[in-house]
Point group: C2
Chain length 331, copies 2
């Protein structure tokens, strides 16, 4: 089974923007491997990759298999480095079987934890939180860190890492269940539900009595406007995502905020996790230590069946998930 892009989404993607096709199991050629998908990751960045617009990476063309990372099992191998049964971190997209030249393939050590964590806390989302907070946001002990999409794969880790570093961690999320999870499950100092809060700024003011030093932004839009107005002198804004903007048909207008950058000496920086590629091993090492020490919690939100990947993706864009959303394919 393969899932291909059938149409360029206008606004929020629809399931009809994807086509599900049965396909024969491919044969690996010389030096190649046959992989079978175990878990597929659906992530916000994929929304940008199915647009027509130029992005930081090539777009998926109509008719192509949808891109995405997976945890896969080696079924057959014509490559001396990999044996059948090996579990690997792969990049063959939304399909049940994939062929790989072994380039970019990385073995997963199942003794480190459940293999699915290679797509979450011990994978790109974990590293995104780690480097985006520590290298871009540069929080210092006793500072206040605010993170949006606080119950998501990345945000849930940002708040916990902030706590490990001695900061006050405040989250913004889209349901009471997420808010409770952030506070009770993850140890955030506070959080609020932006869908039921009329005045974000007042709410943030009461949760951040000393102002905001670091903002890890996953969402953009009006939530971000409110955070900006409360940034402290020398504050840092780590721009990880802008999910509120990805499904807009027309670019959104908002209050201009650059004048505030001068007096407060704010610093804002966008990043991608790949910018820190040469530090990934060290970041994973630290994350797995914290995980084993019980300093980090995580949740997975698992949708069963590759054929449900489009719905899983669309739902994630709407914020249905708590923790890392994955698609589990039949073993």
């Amino acid at each position: 089974m393969q899932i291909r892009l059938a149409a360029r989404p206008v606004g929020y993607p629809k399931t009809s923007d994807f086509s599900i096709e049965e396909s024969p199991i491919p044969e690996p050629g010389e030096g190649e491997l046959l992989l079978k998908t175990q878990y597929l990751s659906v992530d916000p960045y994929m929304r940008g990759r199915i647009n027509d617009r130029k992005s930081y990476a090539p777009n998926v063309e109509i008719g192509e298999v949808m891109i995405g990372r997976s945890v896969s099992k080696v079924i057959a191998s014509n490559h001396s480095d990999f044996q059948p049964g090996d579990i690997v971190w792969a990049d063959h997209g939304w399909q049940a079987y994939g062929i790989s030249s072994a380039q970019g393939l990385r073995k997963i050590d199942p003794s480190l934890g459940p293999i699915s964590t290679a797509l979450g806390i011990l994978g790109m989302p974990g590293l995104t939180a780690y480097f985006g907070l520590l290298e871009v946001g540069k929080p210092k002990a006793r500072e206040t860190v605010v993170v949006s999409a606080a119950a998501g794969a990345v945000g849930s880790l940002v708040g916990q890492i902030a706590k490990i570093k001695g900061c006050r961690a405040i989250g913004i999320a889209g349901s009471d269940e997420k808010v409770n999870y952030a506070i009770d499950g993850l140890g955030f100092d506070g959080a609020f539900n932006y869908k039921t809060t009329a005045d974000y700024r007042t709410e943030l003011q009461s949760l951040c009595p000393n102002g905001i030093d670091v903002y890890f932004d996953n969402v953009g839009g009006t939530i971000t406007d409110a955070v900006f107005s409360l940034m402290n002198m020398w504050g840092r804004i780590s721009v990880c995502g802008q999910i509120s903007q990805y499904n807009l048909i027309e670019p959104e207008m908002g209050p201009r905020m650059m004048a505030g950058f001068i007096g407060k000496r704010l610093q804002m920086q966008g990043f991608l996790v790949g910018d820190f590629a040469d530090q990934h091993a060290e970041g994973l090492q630290q994350m797995s230590v914290w995980l084993k020490e019980g300093q980090l919690n995580y949740r997975e939100d698992i949708v069963e069946g590759l054929e449900n990947a489009p719905q899983a993706f669309i739902g994630m864009l709407r914020g249905d998930n708590i923790g890392k959303r994955l698609v589990k394919c039949e073993g």
Copy 2:
């Protein structure tokens, strides 16, 4: 004579927002000096200081003497470090005579150049250009630097320093005369008049065939929107001023631009010249070397008479000046 703030300006200041009052020449007390203003500086930052809104420095209250830096002459001194006749860089605002405790007072060496340059190329505007470009914008040789308000006190120096550093320098200014001055007088590689150009983006594209690496922003608004859309990967935005926004009665809306920060890894930082106080001496030293070597040109736009300071200030906010606007007081 003293010029006091008579009313909080709504939008652009009017001359009636200031009052001109005759006042007796004050007497210096023990340890104090009597100063006579020679040149007064009018600068964009002053607009923020006459608002009600909280700014990075205390506001001028209604009835108070308007703040501002000056080059002044010591008339009488009860302080052993200063003698009558000394020329000093002072902070006593818009008045013909001021009393100083000598705190923050700095002697100006008239052999370095005309004393008025202590308010321009060898003063705060010069240091603002120097540190805002080199420390915040961090241009590398062969990169493209764009500066707005390119014929102003700061912008005119930013482009020239960019050229010294081996960059392509492109300016944006508000008249054909300013554009010609930037290109012919200052050696910019190109410039355009935003008041007569319909499509800033297309114009910038033709002037910046390799995109924009560093943007030194003095203005904000729609000019900045156009520059943003052409920023290169890893581009830096040095936020020095937002003069297009200072006189607005309602905050302006603009297209949200944070999503572009992610893929391009843009970095934006606001600064004030005082952030680099411990490097000012070194910056001045370098600027005066470049000036003596003929690598920097400057112009002064001098308005005669303290009583004309309000008009000089308001005109500067509207972009009447080419180069540094000063008010010359009677000797």
